[in-house]
Amino acid sequence: MKSSGNNTLNPHRNSDIKITASGLNLWYGDNHALQDINMDIHKNKITALIGPSGCGKSTYLRCINRMNDLIDNTRITGEIVIDSKNIYDADIDVVAVRKRIGMVFQQPNPFPKSIYDNISYAPLKHRLIKKGIESDELVESSLISAGLWEEVKDKLKSPGTSLSGGQQQRLCIARAIAVKPDVILMDEPTSALDPISTEKIESLMMDLKKDYTIVIVTHNMQQAHRTADYAAYFHLGNMVEYNQTETLFNSPAEALTESYISGRFG
């Protein structure tokens, strides 16, 4: 295992950095789930987090929008700086953080509301829009961005849960982008979907990175390879290697990374 000091792997420092984690540690009770993570995430790029089950990918992802705050008994040290502000500072309101950092979950989880209300609910609550024409426009534009508009434009009033799994996941993406975040975090967004839906979501991600910084956790190596610009390999709470996807997959610097990528374990 690498010593923590050497984990500062920041390829291409010159390019635009959106998120910087430094000295990030997280404990679930006594379980030291993240150990001194240092990582720069690039703006308008897709960054994939890969690694065996239980290595801390989801935990790290949830640190970026402070979803771990909701779990009892967690302790976090270190910083995550987004747009030159540490989101763990005392004067930060988590609600504001989560509005700027959207999240898409492994299981599609639409609200028990109509397709329309699924998308308009949060923007209305954030007072980004008013009811009526503004809301109609936002629903339409979000659904168009999520590539779902053509399929649902005639049944906006039917429940979100009446859609197929893949459509539901795109609805969740539409819902996330409707609040106009800067960053979208995706935790295994396609693991519950069939190959065709997966492909749709992947091409959607490629479209979305023009406007958003995307961080995705995936167990699908091809997916990481196909979609991500950067990839980070996690192992037992450590970030072992972080580089451009091509480099990480074709000539990994670490033996652990290589054996995982070549499918020896994980």
Binding site: N65, M67, L70, D72, V95, A96, V97, R98, K99, R100, G102, M103, V104, F105, Q107, N109, P110, F111, P112, K113, Y121, A122, K125, H126, P159, T161, C172, R175, A176, V179
Partner: protein, 391 residues
């Protein structure tokens, strides 16, 4: 062996006895259902059979003379031989009638009037303690078609009475409605708020666990103790009016609270956490998540629990006896602070009455309660189906 001859590759010698025990088990389970159903049917049948006569009430056609004498001593209004035949409740109403309609004074009328309860029992073929003389009077009336059983509209429109022929459930029904209204108004908001706090806000620590255990224990406390508590706190300490729906409702609210809390918590817990996560992920605040997404899903469950709690409160008798809602209260309450009685307490009172005529009233009262409970439960099912959110 036969099966071997047929080359059955699936032959298993132990199967026949295994199937037999499975069949036996099925027969036992079916038997239990049948026994339960039999008890239920017997109970309902017996109740209906006993309550049925209460739907009818005997009336006699007698000559009534309205004059000065009968306005003072109302018995004088009718022939002596009918005095034990007509209801004293009706006789008592003559002076009042004359005051309201003075033009009747000095007239005589051949009219149908309410019969005495003993006469009524005789007409229904039940046990009675009429003298031979009165029986023969009734028989004469019968042959002249001057006595008959009519639809009993007193039962649903009158309050309690010491005269069974004039007793009804109306005022206790109103008392029950007032009491349950107080119970609902107190227990529903308190219970739902408590459940929301425990499920959505409270951290899992010693204090919340103690509260939880106590709420669950509250549901197991014998109801009569709540009556004593109500007596000590609401009546003696706070000085609220005795026998009032206010005190009764507060006491029943204490009993209904744990039912509402437990069912509301279960309903909240059944809301998948992914819904809350989705809300947090969008930067919604806790109240927005609970109001907009959690409560709508939990609502049918909360509603069902509340109605079931109310149904239970509806049938509760012991604590209300303790706080005095058993007193003889013929008038229906006009407000929640008036003295009142409730349906189960009314039934309890009637069940203890010596007159044979109260037996059918008791059974009829039970039928009324059963019908109300049936409708409450049907409402619970209907509302749950109506507001259920399909995934």
């Amino acid at each position: 062996m036969n099966n071997q001859k047929n080359h059955n590759p699936f032959y298993d010698p132990s199967l026949s006895s295994r199937h037999r025990s499975a069949r036996l088990f099925k027969a036992f389970t079916r038997g239990s259902i049948l026994i339960t159903l039999a008890f239920l049917c017997f109970f309902i049948f017996d109740m209906v059979r006993t309550a049925y006569p209460a739907m009818w009430q005997s009336y006699v056609k007698v000559e009534v003379s309205y004059n000065e004498k009968s306005s003072k001593i109302s018995q004088k209004a009718i022939d002596k031989k009918f005095r034990k035949i007509v209801s004293r409740a009706w006789l008592r109403s003559i002076p009042k009638l004359l005051k309201q309609q003075p033009e009747l004074m000095g007239t005589t009328a051949n009219q149908w009037v309410l019969a005495d309860d003993q006469v009524d029992q005789y007409m229904k073929g039940h046990h009675h303690n009429l003298k031979q003389k009165q029986v023969s009077v009734i028989e004469t009336l019968k042959t002249n078609a001057q006595i008959e059983l009519r639809w009993n509209n007193i039962f649903l429109s009158q309050g309690d009475s010491k005269l069974p022929e004039n007793a009804g459930v109306y005022s206790s029904l109103i008392g029950s409605i007032f009491t349950l209204f107080v119970t609902l108004a107190i227990a529903f908001p308190l219970g739902v708020m408590t459940a929301i706090h425990l499920e959505e806000f409270a951290r899992d620590n010693m204090l919340t666990r103690i509260i939880e255990v106590n709420i669950n224990n509250l549901a197991a406390i014998p109801s009569i103790l709540f009556g004593l508590l109500g007596l000590a706190v609401f009546i003696n300490l706070f000085g609220l009016p005795r026998s009032s729906p206010l005190v009764g409702g507060l006491t029943l609210a204490l009993m209904t609270l744990p039912i509402i809390i437990v069912s509301a918590r279960a309903a909240l817990r059944s809301v998948p956490d992914s819904i809350r996560q989705a809300g947090y992920g969008l930067g919604l605040t806790k109240i927005q998540i609970i109001q907009g997404n959690v409560l709508p899903i939990a609502f049918p469950g909360i509603l069902t629990g509340t109605i079931i709690g109310l149904a239970q409160a509806m049938g509760e008798t012991a604590p209300l006896i303790i706080i005095g809602m058993i007193a003889f209260i013929p008038d229906s309450p006009n407000s929640i602070t008036d003295a009142a009685t409730v349906l189960p307490a009314q039934i309890f009172t009637w069940a203890g009455m010596p007159e044979r005529a109260y037996v059918e009233k008791t059974a009829a009262g039970i039928m009324v309660i059963l019908l109300i409970l049936f409708f409450l439960n049907a409402a619970a099912i209907y509302l749950r189906k109506k507001y259920e959110i399909k995934w």
